[in-house]
């Protein structure tokens, strides 16, 4: 009996201690400032790295970064559940989002390139050929000058920002045929690398030796070509806030957009800085040259 009492007492003390600890930490995290950014997995590495740097330089702040996808990011910021929504798309392009409530902060530019399996034997396609490949009009690589291999399409999931950008600017607004779908760029790359005849599309930073990137109309997928819009398949990476940002949110976004981060971190991680662009593109895909000679 006394042993039982002892156990009971211990449990009660442990519970009280844990509760007290939770209460304490709650107070601490409130006393310090913390913000949460949720959304696009394509933008996540940049925001995470910038967040770590920022909290390292500004003690007492915390930037919590989560993935979940562009749709999640935009819906969470629309509901006001988080402070920053990461998105590959303009908010106006995503269905179910009231873009006028959200404020756009462009922090990076991402180029997207078609990739194929190395055995395909194709290094260049015209836009018309690319569209035929993705709409299923062409079923064998022989028909576009490659090896005698059936074409295996691999798409990103419906609603993925990469896919939306690729269909809008790579396929000129046409929809890809229903085919395999994968929910991450890393997975897409490894499947393309191992599946003969496979074709898909990823951000520049995901291209490595295991896959072959394609030139389109003999324009190579390089960062220089993106800055001049000669390579058309690219998109802005956005941090969205609900209304004008305040406090730590404003400071953090300002930090990500600052020249220091844009020159170092953004480029190291394989993104382009919006400052490098010589053109500007709006939500409807209209491209204008940035003024100045």
């Amino acid at each position: 009996m006394s042993r039982k009492r002892w156990v009971q007492g211990f449990i009660v003390i442990a519970l009280v201690a844990l509760g007290g600890y939770a209460y304490q930490t709650r107070q601490v995290s409130h006393a310090r400032e913390s913000i949460t950014a949720v959304g696009s997995t394509a933008l996540q590495p940049l925001v995470e790295a910038a967040g770590e740097q920022y909290t390292g330089e500004h003690l007492g702040t915390f930037v919590n970064v989560q993935g979940g996808g562009t749709g999640t990011g935009l819906s969470q910021i629309q509901e006001g559940a988080v402070q920053i929504g990461n998105s590959d798309l303009f908010a106006g392009e995503q269905k179910g989002i009231k873009a006028n409530q959200l404020v756009d902060h462009r922090v990076a530019v991402v180029g997207i390139t078609p990739i194929v399996n190395k055995k395909v034997g194709v290094t260049n396609l015209s836009t018309a050929q690319l569209i035929k490949v993705f709409t299923g009009e062409v079923k064998n690589w022989r028909e576009v000058g490659g090896a005698n291999l059936p074409i295996v399409l691999i798409n990103r999931a419906q609603g993925s920002g990469t896919r939306a950008t690729f269909e809008q600017f790579g396929l000129q607004g046409r929809r890809s045929k229903t085919a395999q779908e994968q929910d991450s760029s890393g997975m897409v790359r490894s499947i393309v690398a191992t599946t003969p005849g496979a074709i898909s599309y990823v951000a520049f930073s995901y291209v490595d030796k295991t896959v072959q990137d394609l030139a389109i109309n003999h324009v190579e997928p390089t960062e220089d070509n993106v800055t001049t819009n000669d390579w058309k398949i690219w998109s802005y990476e956005h941090l969205y806030t609900k209304g004008q940002p305040k406090g730590l949110t404003a400071k953090f976004i300002h930090y990500v957009q600052s020249a220091a981060v844009q020159r170092t971190l953004v480029r190291q991680l394989g993104y382009l800085s919006p400052d490098q662009m010589t053109v500007d593109r709006d939500v409807h895909g209209q491209v204008t040259k940035i003024g100045g000679e």
Binding site: Q158, T178, D183, I191
Partner: protein
């Protein structure tokens, strides 16, 4: 007068044991309440979200269950969103049934070996091995499937290697331990005197196993198989990695196709809460939930039949 009152109070007061019992009853009852609330909450949430496709977005239930195009982002010629879930429903059932068909003979064979033919070795080696298999996380199965099963399928049957066949192979290994250990339990619960009587009548061991033990254990074995099917039906990650996730009617076993779970896991992060695309995914989740309830009911029914 006073003393009788005191006596009465003493008698009527709850003893310590009784108070402890009430307290215990309260605790276990509130635990039960909590679990019931969680279950009801989940079912209610999924149902309210899943039904919104039909009430808010005015998709007809019949179209949802029978149409073959899954493209929630665009509308068809009549202005209705293309949310035909038939490819996923067919994919889920096909892969579940196929993996159960493949796994059942192996599972029952193993269980018979463990219980009837070589109980000593079975208990020493096979039991721990099957238990170990149960504990392997599904992402590991998926990874092995992606790097071993998919290339093998591609080399043998052609195509891209992604498809129902690869999914079946992975699920077969995943549900095998569950079905095996439940089958073993079913065989164990057959009374010893059944076997003794059979052997005494001059039946061989094989005749005893086939005509007596397996027959007597049938309800338990069925439960094991249905349990394995329920697990296969609900498995998401491993299947998603090897099936290819193409929302197409499966034209062959090696063509990329999809299941309810694989479409859910790939799609849910790219949709916005409250939009049609999101609601359509919740409807898929509702179908999944209803199906697992059906599997549970089947298990119940078999159990009841077995008792008679």
């Amino acid at each position: 007068m006073k003393s009788t009152q005191q006596l009465e109070r003493q008698l009527k007061r709850h003893s310590k044991a009784a108070r402890l019992e009430n307290w215990g009853r309260f605790i276990s009852f509130s635990a039960l309440l909590l679990i019931v609330a969680v279950v009801v909450g989940i079912i209610g949430f999924v149902a309210s979200k899943g039904i919104a496709t039909f009430t808010t977005n005015h998709v007809s239930l019949w179209d949802f269950l029978t149409e073959k195009t899954w493209n929630p982002n665009i509308k068809d010629a009549h202005g209705n969103p293309e949310v035909g879930a038939l490819p996923m429903i067919v994919g889920s059932f096909l892969i579940t049934i196929l993996s159960a068909i493949v796994a059942t003979p192996f599972a029952i064979g193993t269980a018979v070996f463990m219980n009837e033919i070589s109980p000593n070795r079975g208990a020493k080696i096979l039991q721990p091995v099957t238990e170990l298999l149960v504990g392997i996380p599904s992402v590991v199965y998926g990874f092995i499937g992606l790097s071993v099963v998919v290339p093998a399928t591609r080399a043998i049957f052609g195509g891209s290697g992604f498809g129902i066949l690869s999914g079946t192979c992975v699920l077969f290994v995943m549900i095998l331990p569950t079905v095996t250990s439940m089958s073993a339990d079913a065989l164990k619960s057959v009374p010893r005197y059944y076997r003794e009587a059979s052997l005494a009548l001059g039946a061989t061991q094989w005749q005893t196993i086939y005509k007596v033990v397996l027959r007597a254990a049938t309800p338990g074995l069925m439960t094991a198989v249905v349990f394995g099917m329920a697990r296969a039906f609900g498995e998401a990650l491993a299947v998603q990695m090897v099936i290819g996730n193409a929302a197409l009617m499966p034209s062959s076993l090696v063509a990329p196709s999809s299941t309810l779970t694989s479409v859910l896991t790939t799609g849910i992060g790219n949709t916005v809460m409250g939009s049609l695309q999101n609601n359509a995914l919740w409807s898929l989740a509702l179908v999944l939930l209803l199906m697992s309830l059906v599997f549970n009911l089947i298990i119940r029914l078999i159990g009841r039949k077995g008792r008679m």
